[in-house]
């Protein structure tokens, strides 16, 4: 903080201008400077939202109503449990996260394995490429009916939807990563006469890690997107179910509950994205 402001003051003095009295230190701290813009802009957005809602006299809640109407129990007690599906939003999110965790982990394992097969073998790649290109564009919810028919159970069906949504970017990025291995990495390996297994372990895996994480990061976003949607159509419990349930209940505070849930969904999605990015950067091998 002091080092950052020192040169500026020095420059001011050489031009013979009197230096301004220093601002309160908390205001010029790096953290304050970083959050200043977001705080102002978010504050303004909330203000406009509140003013529009108040002036128009509509039943649609402004931010203040959203908070007051949902404070008890949804904000103050995120983990209350009245039995059945009447649970706090913390629980609902955990239920959704659990489904995502299972479907996403499966997608990661299958996706990386399939991507490696595709990347290492030209025949498999050429053979499956058209199919992958078609399937990866299918929207998540289009998988739900077939998935329900297949598994006869809402929970498994939702997990399958997560899996099938998340798997494509992982497959594709892993395969691309393997194909992008610089020829010279491979040449060095050949001069050392690496066995196929050593080649995969020592060269293919480390040089493909960044690509795999690109795929994993895209996939976690899609998985979170898909779970909320899938739970809205058919599920007991989960944040998507909560939103749809609130909508159907149609009570006074329903809209506020839905808005609050959307905020939670967004924040959790962001955290998931950052988490994968963080793990990726820790494992970053600097390849390519």
């Amino acid at each position: 903080m002091i080092t950052a402001s020192a040169p500026r003051r020095a420059a001011g003095q050489t031009r013979g201008r009197p230096s301004r009295p220093p601002a309160p230190t908390w205001l010029s701290s790096p953290l304050a400077r970083q959050i200043k813009a977001p705080v102002i802009c978010i504050g303004l957005t909330l203000l406009v939202w509140q003013v529009v809602c108040s002036l128009s006299g509509s039943a649609f809640p402004g931010p203040i109503q959203v908070v007051t109407q949902t404070w008890t129990p949804y904000i103050s007690k995120p983990f209350y449990d009245d039995g059945g599906t009447a649970k706090g939003m913390g629980w609902q999110i955990l239920i959704s996260l659990q489904r995502v965790a299972i479907g996403y982990s499966l997608a990661a394992v299958v996706g990386i394995a399939a991507g490696m097969a595709l990347g290492l073998n030209g025949f498999i790649r050429k053979g499956f490429d058209p199919m992958i290109q078609v399937l990866r564009t299918v929207p998540p919810l289009a998988w739900l009916p077939i998935s329900l028919l297949l598994f006869q159970q809402a929970d498994l069906a939702a997990i399958f939807v997560i899996f099938i949504t998340a798997v494509w970017p992982i497959v594709i990025n892993t395969a691309v990563g393997i194909q992008e291995i610089p020829q010279d990495y491979t040449n060095v390996a050949r001069v050392l006469r690496l066995s196929k297994r050593a080649y995969i372990r020592e060269i293919v895996i480390p040089s493909t890690v960044p690509y795999v994480f690109t795929g994993l990061r895209i996939a976690i976003g899609l998985a979170w997107l898909a779970i909320v949607a899938a739970e809205m159509l058919k599920a007991d419990g989960g944040i998507g179910y909560f939103i749809w349930d609130a909508y159907n209940a149609g009570g006074d505070s329903s809209t506020s509950q839905i808005i609050l849930a959307i905020v939670y969904v967004g924040i959790v999605g962001l955290i998931l994205d950052r988490l994968i990015a963080y793990i990726g950067s820790r494992l970053n091998t600097g390849a390519h």
């Binding site: 610089p182 020829q183 010279d184 990495y185 040449n187 060095v188 050949r190 001069v191 050392l192 006469r193 690496l194 050593a198 020592e202 060269i203 480390p206 040089s207 890690v209 091998t285 600097g286 390849a287 390519h288």
Partner: protein, 255 residues
């Protein structure tokens, strides 16, 4: 050690797509010699090196090391490439140790040799750094150390300094020359830089493109006691100019 390339031709593909890249290449390399191959881009220099390395097989002709035909890559021929040669996820020392570990050498020997070869290339202090934390010149020195550590009979260098700034390139040329003098290594250097070839090699083969072939061989009998002096000396400059012109003419008549 004796490396012999005799009557080697190379054609990629077949039928109407066939590409005749090399025609009747002949060259010899004895222990302790430093030989260079110069030619413009696309003249097939890298292909010659890949053939010697065993990464490709000749369409006709033979390549032998100590009388044994080359059938594939092997640790008796170390390679240094223009770029992307170090593994970015391994530190400098791990890169040097990589091949030795796979050769199944004992751990202690690997460590000793790693330290020794890092010292040979003047990077004893940089062992723990990752390639991206090293300058381009340092990276290439690590790559040379890695190639030498596998104890090759001949070192194959494909434009090892091609990606470096001019000034660093000159430093690296002097480094390589001193390394050669000190360790008595045997080297085949591929470059499109006439000055580099003349400066370092006792014998320079000049390649013409389409198809790639050796059109002239120069035995450079120059006084190499001081390379930076040699660079500016009249006989050297004359020879350099003559060969550079020769290459230009080749290129314009062939291209």
């Amino acid at each position: 050690m004796h490396l012999s390339v005799s009557g080697v031709s190379k054609t990629f593909g077949s039928g109407s797509k066939a590409k005749h890249v090399l025609e009747d290449i002949n060259l010899e390399l004895d222990s302790g010699e430093f030989v260079a191959l110069v030619g413009s881009s696309g003249s097939g220099k890298s292909t010659v090196m890949r053939l010697v390395a065993g990464l490709e097989l000749p369409s006709s002709g033979t390549i032998t090391v100590d009388g044994q035909p080359v059938k594939g890559p092997g640790s008796d021929r170390g390679m240094v490439f223009q770029k992307y040669s170090l593994y970015p996820w391994l530190s400098a020392a791990e890169n040097v140790a990589f091949g030795m570990q796979l050769q199944g050498r004992p751990k202690r020997e690997v460590n000793e040799r790693t330290a020794y070869f890092l010292e040979v290339v003047g990077l004893s202090d940089a062992g723990r750094r990752l390639p991206r934390e090293l300058s381009g010149g340092m990276q290439q020195r690590v790559a040379i150390a890695r190639a030498l550590a596998a104890d090759p009979k001949v070192l194959l260098l494909d434009e090892p300094f091609g990606a470096l700034d001019l000034q660093i390139r000159e430093t690296m040329q002097e480094f390589l020359y001193q390394l050669w003098e000190r360790t008595g290594l045997t080297a085949l250097l591929i470059t499109h830089d006439v000055e580099e070839a003349l400066l370092l090699a006792q014998r320079v083969h000049i390649m013409a493109p389409r198809p790639g072939r050796i059109v002239r061989t120069v035995e450079g009998k120059l006084d190499r006691r001081d390379l930076s002096f040699l660079r500016l000396s009249a006989p050297f400059l004359e020879l350099r100019e003559e060969l550079a012109n020769y290459l230009r003419v080749l290129d314009s008549t062939m291209g």
